[in-house]
């Protein structure tokens, strides 16, 4: 590590301990996630390392918990549900959220701040309150225990994330491009799809990924609103963790870590791309 000339011993010690602390915190963040990966290959039905695992004995490792996921109808249904509900909620949240973000970014929007606060509130209100309220209200509408009900609920929870990301993408948006397009005779819808959309696309896509992961990860609303038919992966994990702990859950957890890593990579790629677009370096 390079230090300025005026640093004495104590300054350097301070900087070293700062670096050490930072690495310790990074370890605290990462280790719990990393530790479940080897445990999910444990041949024994425990949540701890066996002596064989520590000795790297191949017999101590197995794929049987992964096989158990595939052979269990409940898990298969949960996986299907998670993707189905997530995809449908994402579409609704993305369309409505993108439009709203465009409207809210205009200086002409009346009551901008208040409307923004209301539209972002699903992200802040504790899920237990949202879930309890939805249970009362959706039951009256006959939506409790239906796919429709769960999808609507998850879409509502996902919209704030779309608004935030699209809003960020619009922060550097130059409205004279819209004026130019319209002035040259393009129709409003042509302008929307050919001028506005390409420029805010990274924001829209990362917003939709956030909306998807919100639904994919959500369990409290599902607990209250969904019937057995709408069981999702987190719901299945939750009951598994409450009733009998079994390493199949660890295997599912590892698969979910892989999904998150893929989503993270996509988002980071989009962010870099968005940055290039804003700074005008896109080819």
């Amino acid at each position: 590590m390079q230090f300025p000339k005026y640093f004495n011993f104590w300054h350097k010690l301070g900087m070293h301990s700062l670096r050490l602390t930072a690495w310790a915190v990074l370890a605290f963040l990462m280790l719990p996630i990393l530790v479940i990966i080897p445990l999910s290959f444990n041949v024994e039905p425990y949540f701890s390392f066996t002596e064989g695992m520590l000795a790297f004995d191949p017999d101590a490792y197995s794929l049987k918990w992964y096989a158990e996921i595939i052979n269990d109808d409940k898990w298969i249904l949960a996986i299907k549900n998670s993707f189905l509900i997530g995809a449908a909620a994402t579409v609704i949240a993305t369309v409505l959220g993108t439009l709203a973000a465009i409207g809210l970014s205009r200086a002409d929007m009346p009551l901008q701040r208040m409307i923004m606060a209301i539209l972002l509130s699903p992200m802040i209100v504790p899920l237990i309150i949202t879930a309890a309220g939805m249970y009362f209200f959706y039951t009256q509408l006959g939506l409790a225990g239906t796919y429709m009900g769960v999808i609507i609920a998850h879409a509502a929870l996902g919209t704030p994330f779309v608004i935030i990301t699209v809003n960020a993408a619009l922060s550097g948006f130059d409205y004279s491009l819209v004026r130019a397009s319209l002035g040259m005779g393009a129709s409003p819808s042509y302008t929307f799809f050919k001028v506005i959309m390409p420029l805010i696309r990274p924001g829209v896509i990362s917003g939709s990924l956030f909306a998807f992961i919100t639904s994919f990860d959500e369990v409290v609303v599902i607990l209250f609103l969904a019937g057995p038919e709408q069981r999702t992966i987190p719901r299945q994990m939750f009951s598994g963790l409450r009733e009998q702990i079994n390493p199949t859950i660890l295997a599912v957890a590892v698969l979910l870590v892989v999904v998150s890593a893929l989503l993270l990579l996509t988002i980071e790629y989009l962010r870099a791309r968005g940055e290039r677009i804003r700074t005008g370096q896109v080819s």
Partner: protein, 432 residues
């Protein structure tokens, strides 16, 4: 996307020259400009309307229903409507029990409820207002159930009074009358450990469960906020001052946990903290301890798991603020002879306060209403207010009390959210 929304896209007219009102304009031009302004407002609004409508139906209305549920309690009124009607004319402040006609009406309704197997529900409801009355109602219902219609009509009142001596007392009738009110503040009183005494005055309850629970939740949330700030600050500082390449790589270690499912991280903590989990095994192998330590299902496990889960919410705003601080201020202070500690506390730290307050408010707001992690790792000691709301929703079926507790929590959150909006601005929330 529907056609209506598409046509609401910006039109040529709406993007005409900015209509600043110049003093030299003719009245016609002024009108034109006002019209344009109105039109642009309408167009901007038209984009937002679909979502406002959707959020209103899908989210705001449910929250409203919950608020309504906390004061609306029709259950008893639906079970014994005629008795309650008759009780209207009875003066509950007097020391006399209601007249025979009223009591006989109640006997008739209780007989009916017993036949329908719904007397248990009534017993449960009245018992909330008067502990111990459940058995009185249940056993009386069993006795009345056997009577035939004729006996019931003639001597219903006597049979009921004979069934249990408590019917001779005013207290149970008072409780029935007050439980029968359709709109009531009694659940808010319960939620704040208050009650009404026989004179109708609001007094403290002997047991204070809920105030304690709110206080505990606040304490846990504060502790988590403090912990995330203390361990998040050095990391954010390190990331913000490291070379861009290193920082970007290390940022993945913050973002991956942020993106990883909440349940995955909670599962990981269960695996780590269990009696025969990773930490205990490790410590026993090293002969540091002989007996495994009980860590899971305690308040400690709630705090450590939630600190882990919420840490990125602290680091990300801190990092983005620190990124914007020019390092030359700090260097200037040092080269002018300030000691590093005072340069840090007087120059650098004050500049990080916007990020710190944003992160702290965010972590505090999220943790105060947390449900899943305490439910899975908290045991009885590590439960928070959300868990008791869930308990009253799912197990004790006291929905009104759940709604009242939820409303109090909601008020608290709304207040914090409002402060957050004032200080940080809700539209400045950063994701990743």
């Amino acid at each position: 996307m529907s056609q209506a929304e598409l046509t609401a896209a910006p039109t040529a007219a709406s993007f005409n020259e900015d209509s600043e009102v110049h003093s030299g304009l003719t009245p016609e031009e002024m009108r034109q400009s006002k019209r344009n302004q109105r039109r642009r407002k309408l167009i901007a609004t038209a984009f937002v309307i679909p979502l406002i409508f959707f959020v209103l139906i899908a989210f705001i209305a449910p929250i409203g229903t919950m608020l309504y549920r906390s004061v609306y309690h029709p259950t008893v009124a639906q079970l014994i409507p005629e008795t309650l009607q008759a009780l209207q004319s009875w003066d509950e402040a007097s020391d006399n029990i209601p007249d025979a006609a009223t009591i006989s009406l109640f006997a008739k309704e209780l007989h009916y409820l017993a036949k329908e197997r719904r007397s248990g529900k009534l017993a449960e409801e009245i018992n909330r207002g008067m502990p111990g009355s459940s058995s009185v109602i249940k056993s009386s219902a069993r006795k009345l159930k056997k009577l035939d219609e004729a006996t019931l009509a003639n001597e219903g009142a006597e049979r009921l009074l004979a069934a249990k001596k408590q019917w001779q007392e005013v207290k149970i009738w008072r409780t029935m009358k007050s439980s029968g009110e359709i709109f009531t503040d009694s659940f808010y009183l319960t939620a704040t450990d208050l009650t009404r005494n026989e004179q109708g005055e609001i007094v403290a309850r002997d047991t204070n469960i809920y105030i304690k629970l709110f206080a505990k939740s606040l304490k846990i949330a504060l502790l988590i906020t403090f912990l995330t700030a203390v361990i998040g600050f050095p990391l954010a500082y390190y990331l913000a001052t490291a070379p861009a390449k290193v920082a970007n790589t290390l940022m993945v270690f913050v973002l991956l946990p942020f993106w990883t499912s909440l349940l995955v991280r909670t599962t990981a903590w269960i695996a780590i903290l269990q009696t025969n989990g990773v930490i205990n095994d490790f410590l026993i192998t090293l002969h540091i301890i002989n007996e495994p330590i009980e860590m899971l299902y305690t308040q400690f496990s709630t705090v450590i798991a939630m600190t882990h889960i919420l840490l990125p919410f602290m680091i990300l705003p801190l990092y983005s603020v620190m990124k914007g601080i020019d390092p030359s201020y700090f260097r200037a202070a040092l080269s002018l002879g300030a000691k590093p500690l005072s340069a840090f506390s007087r120059i650098y730290f004050p500049m990080t306060l916007p990020g710190l307050s944003a992160g702290a408010l965010l972590v505090f707001i999220i943790s105060i209403g947390y449900y899943i992690t305490p439910a899975l790792v908290g045991g009885t000691d590590g439960q928070m207010i959300s868990n008791i709301i869930a308990f009253h929703m799912q197990s004790s079926n006291n929905w009104e009390l759940a709604a009242a507790l939820g409303s109090i929590l909601l008020i608290l959150i709304t207040l914090l959210y409002w402060i957050y909006d004032r200080l940080v601005g809700v539209s400045n929330i950063k994701l990743g």
